[in-house]
Amino acid sequence: MSLIEIRGLSKNYGHVRALDYLDLNVDGGRIVGLAGPNGSGKTTLLRILGAFDTAYSGDVSIDGLKPGRETRAITSYLPEKTALSDWMTADQAIAVYKDFFADFKEDRAREMLEFFKLEGSQKLRQMSKGMQEKVQIMLVMSRDARIYLLDEPISGVDPASRKSILRGIIGQAGEDSLVLVSTHLISDIEPVLDEIIFLDFGRVILHEQADKMRAERGQSLNEAFEEIYA
């Protein structure tokens, strides 16, 4: 059984079909990219997997369980837009996470803070966008979760910060855990991925091992993406 198993998942927003009988299996122990144009269903899928949206049809199983309170305990979710208040310092944000999540590892958070060269006493609103994104990643990746759901963690961030955020993800992901990361910046993220999933119109149109795809197509994932969605 795969860590994530999805059968016939559909989701409508009014008359708009966000997910359309989507089928997907994803195993643990890997970093998987979720790509697709805007409106292809990436955020909707991540929200359902994170148990933040339970109004859907079809079957979703996370480690054998329906998304809900139990799966939320093993799932660490980075939303596209931050929920942190900007008057907080990084230290205060760490304290909030520590209170809120039983699996939060403060030593990991401190290690990442150092890795990102951030000051714990600095307020979020005094930080650049790249620094704020690093704080988010630090918090989300410091949980000892089975599944990390990262919605566009590197968009709107300068290239140097992207690099260090990606290294932060590599360094913290556990051996058995799954990192599912949505992005439209494939070229930045592709050396980090085991697998890539392409979504279009709420369905999986391609799900392949990254190196296998390069070997078979002689293309980068980014080139394949541009060709497929052209």
């Binding site: 122990g29 890997r30 970093i31 690099k163 990606l166 290294r167 590599i170 360094g171 992901a173 070229s187 592709e190 050396p191 980090v192 991925l193 085991d194 990254a210 190196d211 296998k212 390069r214 070997a215 002689g218 293309q219 980068s220 994932l221 980014n222 080139e223």
Partner: protein, 126 residues
């Protein structure tokens, strides 16, 4: 030392090529301990499973060996390293011949050019 990856080719093969080059050049010396998968993944910004796969291939080629408790080491077998050196030289030479043929250069001209530049570079080193 960082590697710039060509995203059009499987990354584990590029990592494997990189390790082979490091062994041939002596940057990774015989018997040297190889960094852990996690360290290498962080250093080069690539997926840990991809590093694992490249190192697995390196072992498969007898260029490295694993010790359950102590980690992974570069081979100390000179013959294996010398063979790798010859294989690499053959590959480079084949590529050169192909390029030289495309330029319509004769074997004699190619050889004398190689000889001249070889000696020049040798002199330049000293």
């Amino acid at each position: 030392m960082s590697i710039s990856f060509d995203n059009q080719r499987p990354i584990y093969i590029q990592l494997l090529d990189f390790f082979r080059a490091e062994i041939v050049s002596g940057s990774l010396s015989p018997g040297q301990k190889i960094e852990s998968v996690r360290e290498l993944a962080l250093k080069y910004g690539v997926n840990p499973n991809t590093v694992q796969r490249a190192l697995g291939e390196l072992e498969h080629l007898n260029l490295a060996r694993s010790d359950r408790t102590r980690g992974r080491f570069v081979t100390e077998d000179d013959e294996v390293i010398q063979q790798l050196r010859l294989d690499s030289a053959q590959q480079i030479t084949e590529d050169y011949i192909q390029a030289a043929r495309n330029l319509q250069i004769s074997l004699d001209d190619a050889l004398s050019l190689v000889k001249k530049l070889w000696d020049d570079q040798e002199g330049g080193k000293e």
